[in-house]
């Protein structure tokens, strides 16, 4: 058996110079310090993404992306297909956990200033992937074609439409017409299963490549001498955490399976208590506080503009936080991060309770 594996390795090695790769991974080390725990959240996010790809492909075997059949096909998956309820529930829960771990990963990188030179591009690719993750959530939410999804998509696309000048064309592009209809479903289905995964995978490969080439960043001012080899020590710990996450996911998916609700009715009134998914709640709730008009501009437009500007500034942090790149402490970033965390938490809770 051993001989066979050695033979196989040497066959590939002769052709692909695997020794170089093995050498790279055995030499690569991961620093050990009191903040090392945060290194694992990137991996956890990746794990949930992999789960999404696998369960998403499985759902595609039965899902039908048309307004007449979408709801029924999910009903069919959940009631007739063996383990269909489980696959859908895992897909729905893993989506939430994927975004949650991406949030944690992003904020830990921010607080540790790991985006500073030379890792600016790793941050940029990461934040873009985070925005895409929100896009995955938004586009996937409509696919069951139920009441909640229908109205959430109406509201969401309408918010996009509030952006001055380019808003309206964006809204029409997202809806595939003036109204949310079967055309919107086909379009968002395309975004969800083809466009976004394709672009996301490219960004993911680049992001991971940067991490491998540049190694793990260490927090500013922390002099660590201890380190563990990336392979196998760090990888095995990573895998163990993945196993823990898989168990959490399984428990959530089995004991709190996702519901389907009622089929979307294009001519029905919006049901009471309609809300977006939790990761959009803070934006949804804050938009409620804007008055109808601020001077001559609509309140909603001002809100959307503010969030857009905040998003762009967030993306470009490595370029305007010069201090951290020079190795100096920059508490201002910590205050911004802290403000963002508190803002998101409070408005999410308020939105949840409203």
């Amino acid at each position: 058996m051993k001989k066979f594996s050695e033979k196989t390795y040497s066959w590939f090695n002769e052709r692909l110079k695997l020794d170089n790769l093995t050498y790279f991974f055995t030499k690569k080390v991961v620093p050990v310090h009191k903040h090392s725990i945060w290194y694992y959240f990137g991996g956890v996010t990746l794990f949930f993404f992999i789960i999404q790809v696998v369960t998403g492909i499985l759902l595609l075997f039965y899902y039908k992306g048309s307004a007449d059949l979408a709801f029924e096909s999910i009903q069919y998956i959940m009631t007739k297909v063996e383990f269909g309820w489980l696959i859908r529930s895992i897909h729905s829960w893993a989506a939430n956990l994927f975004i949650l771990s991406a949030f944690i990963h992003m904020f830990s990188v921010l607080f540790e200033k790991a985006y500073r030179k030379p890792r600016e591009l790793t941050w940029i690719t990461g934040v873009i992937m985070f925005f895409m993750a929100l896009g995955f959530g938004f586009s996937g939410y409509l696919l069951p074609w139920n009441e909640l999804a229908f109205f959430a998509t109406k509201v969401g696309t309408d918010i996009a439409g509030a952006i001055p000048v380019i808003g309206d064309p964006i809204k029409i592009f997202m809806r595939g017409g003036d109204e949310v209809s079967g055309a919107t479903l086909s379009r968002l289905f395309g975004f969800h299963v083809a466009l976004l995964p394709g672009i996301f995978t490219v960004f993911l490969v680049v992001h991971l490549l940067f991490v491998q080439v540049q190694g793990m960043s260490e927090p500013l001012g922390l002099k660590t001498r201890k380190a563990i080899p990336f392979f196998p020590n760090f990888v095995l710990r990573d895998l163990l955490l993945w196993l823990v996450m898989l168990n959490i996911l399984a428990v959530l998916a089995v004991f709190f399976p996702s519901e389907l609700g009622h089929k979307a009715d294009l001519f029905a009134s919006a049901p009471e208590g309609i809300k977006p998914e939790w990761y959009y709640l803070f934006m949804y709730q804050s938009l409620k506080y804007f008055p109808a008009h601020i001077f001559f501009i609509e309140g909603e437009t001002v809100g959307v503009l503010l969030f857009s500007v905040a998003g762009i500034l967030w993306l470009l942090i490595p370029f305007w936080d010069k201090k951290s790149s020079m190795g100096e402490r920059n508490l201002f970033i910590n205050y911004i991060g802290l403000f963002a965390v508190i803002f998101i938490l409070i408005l999410t809770i308020l939105g949840w309770l409203s």
């Binding site: 499985l58 075997f61 297909v81 383990f83 696959i87």
Partner: protein
Amino acid sequence: MKEASHKNRRDFLKYILSGGLLGLAASILYPIIAYLKPPAQREVEVSSVKAGKIDEIEKESGKIIKFGSKPVILIRTAKGDLRAFSGVCTHLDCTVQFRKDMGVIWCACHNGKYDLNGHNISGPPPRPLEEYRVIVQKDEIFISKKT
């Protein structure tokens, strides 16, 4: 002695770990494989269908009728007889058609031919077409399965 007990312990751990991993793999793979298997669909049992009025079908012509989820070919011969057969070619599942110029039931996929009694006469079809019963009641054509 000590080394042997170490080896035993190591072996024990190895079995527990690999057993656990196998169990994990099985508990993930089993639902996936079961999920991939399409559920058995109960077909809607159709015993007979209305195939239109007799004057709607000309002599020496044929048409495909929906019989539940399956096609049935209804033929009116030159003499005016009505006959119905399964529209599914016994070769590879294609749907057959009536060819007036050849005077046969013809399958376009592999040039299979059946005579107007549904018997396979040339080409690859291995069996005759299943025959259906045709009844005309007050100008209305009914097709039903032969029991």
